[in-house]
Amino acid sequence: MADSSAPVPQTLGESLRKNGVSRRGFLKFCAATASMMALPPSMAPAIAAALEKARRPSVIWLSFQECTGCTESLTRSFSPTVENLILDVISLDYHHTLQAAAGDAAEHAREQAMHDNEGEYLVVVDGSLPGPNANPGYSTIAGFSNLQMLEETIAGAAAIVAVGTCAAFGGLPKADPNPSGAVAVTDIVKDKPVINVSGCPPVPMVITGVLAQYLTFGSLPELDEYNRPLAFFGQSIHDRCYRRPFYDKGLFAETFDDEGAKKGWCLYRLGCKGPMAYNACATMKWNGGTSWPIEAGHPCLGCSEPDFWDAGGFYKALSVPTGDPGDVLLAAGVAGAAIGVGAGILGRRNSAAAKASHEKVTADELEQKL
């Protein structure tokens, strides 16, 4: 972390060279980042130049109601990757899981970082937090409620990155019945730019991509309706899925071990939420490009979307309604049948009454009337 015993490299370029990253490897990363962000390849040298000179931004990482899965995802790599080094060279001044300090010293590091980098530091939030109307006791750190800590920390922040579906949309803590009154970061933060990097957990490359964008352009990326960077969340899993041709042909796996599953057919009928999920899994994959859930034969859960926990069963097709209409249907059917019988009896009565009150006239009577 931000220890001051060794001379700390001031720019990203220096730091990368110190860590033995070749110029070639660095440029390859820049080209990949450019293509990831849907920029023309000619932008790669510009990214490289900007990143070379970029100063280490101070990052304060707040962990609230979360499972640490996002941190696991972001720090997990099989060899020292450029992503890893980017994380090393940002000045990660406060992070529960990764920092050595504890107790007052840890909180002091946060206050120090806020003070030294007033108006310039980035706040990364991981996890949802009990909202203003909820009992703050559901989640506290060093005697502060999550809400207090968030409001205090973002006061001098340049921008906030909400990492993971819990921070971005409330996630699992907010799932019905939401016992802790959990809310998302955007429910609290209204006057600062917030970037949502959703996913349970998010793809590691997406967070480094967002940081690279910020370091390169000094600005935040273009966002979608959920404040997610369009470069990574612009396309749905379905549109980029390698199993899409099977959907188009109407070839579906119906169980996890049938012929279709073995042949790698579409997982729609097994509950795949790929058509409604916007994320980069299908193109970037996981574990260094090894595989991703659908390639492993499991339907997409749609974990990058708000309320995905409550959006119907994970193994029910997307077209299946979320509730169980059984009781409603039965009650409506019984009521309908009863009203129908009533209306029928009423009709018969009316008909009988009309017959009974029918007065017969003779031809003579009619002639008299004329």
């Binding site: 309706e225 708000p306 097709a317 129908g340 029928g344």
Partner: protein, 219 residues
């Protein structure tokens, strides 16, 4: 409200409301018809009722030659879009999954491109029926606001389904939500308009055939 909130609303509470209104309304209409019954026939029966009734249910699918000569457009385009609508409704895999989840029954579906083509034809046929209705003097004179209402509630689920399948509305939860909403409006409107013919047409045909069957004549 985000697009996801909208999708969850249409898939959850709105669907329950729509299906309840549909079931209640349709049962009221059908049970009333059956409860009214028919006057007792004192003449001796000359034949059965069940088989001739069922035969007529099937036979009325064939257009009567006179009608075809007088109004070929109505017969041809009418048959095309009715078949298209039923194929898209009952043989598209996501619809089969929905029916399976609700009633536990299932059947094989058609490949998506086939349903897609059928849907496109249905859309054109439905548009043609509207244009014909608006341009044909007699049809225009006879059309009531209800006719335009049921055309709209029939057209919208097909159109939104086509748009959702081709992902022409973004984001997708909005596209799917709109399609489900259109289908829910169709379900709610159905029992209270002439769309009830979806069920009553078969009842009427059966009665027709049964009456003739009892008299011992062909229908």
């Amino acid at each position: 409200m985000t697009s996801m909130d909208f999708l969850l609303l249409t898939k959850g509470p709105l669907f329950q409301i729509a299906i309840a209104i549909f079931a209640l309304g349709m049962l009221v209409r059908l049970v009333e018809i059956f409860a009214l019954g028919r006057p007792h026939n004192y003449a001796a029966a000359r034949g059965g009722q069940l088989i001739p009734g069922l035969k007529t249910v099937y036979k009325r699918f064939n257009p009567d030659p006179g009608t075809f000569k007088r109004a070929p457009f109505d017969v041809i385009v009418g048959i095309i879009w009715h078949i298209g609508f039923v194929v898209a409704l009952l043989l598209f895999i996501p619809h089969i999954e929905l029916i399976k989840s609700m009633f536990g029954v299932t059947w094989p579906g058609l490949p998506n491109p086939v349903v897609d083509a059928v849907t496109a034809i249905t859309l054109f046929a439905l548009l043609a029926t509207l244009i014909h209705r608006l341009t044909h003097p007699v049809k225009k004179f006879l059309s009531t606001p209800e006719d335009y209402l049921i055309w709209t509630v029939t057209f919208l689920p097909v159109l939104t389904g086509y748009l959702a399948y081709h992902r022409l509305i973004n984001p997708y939860p909005l596209a799917l939500g709109l399609h489900i909403l259109a289908a829910e409006i169709f379900l709610i409107v159905l029992p209270f308009t002439k769309l009830t013919h979806i069920f009553t047409a078969f009842v009427a045909r059966w009665y027709n055939g049964a009456i003739f069957g009892r008299k011992g004549v062909q229908s």
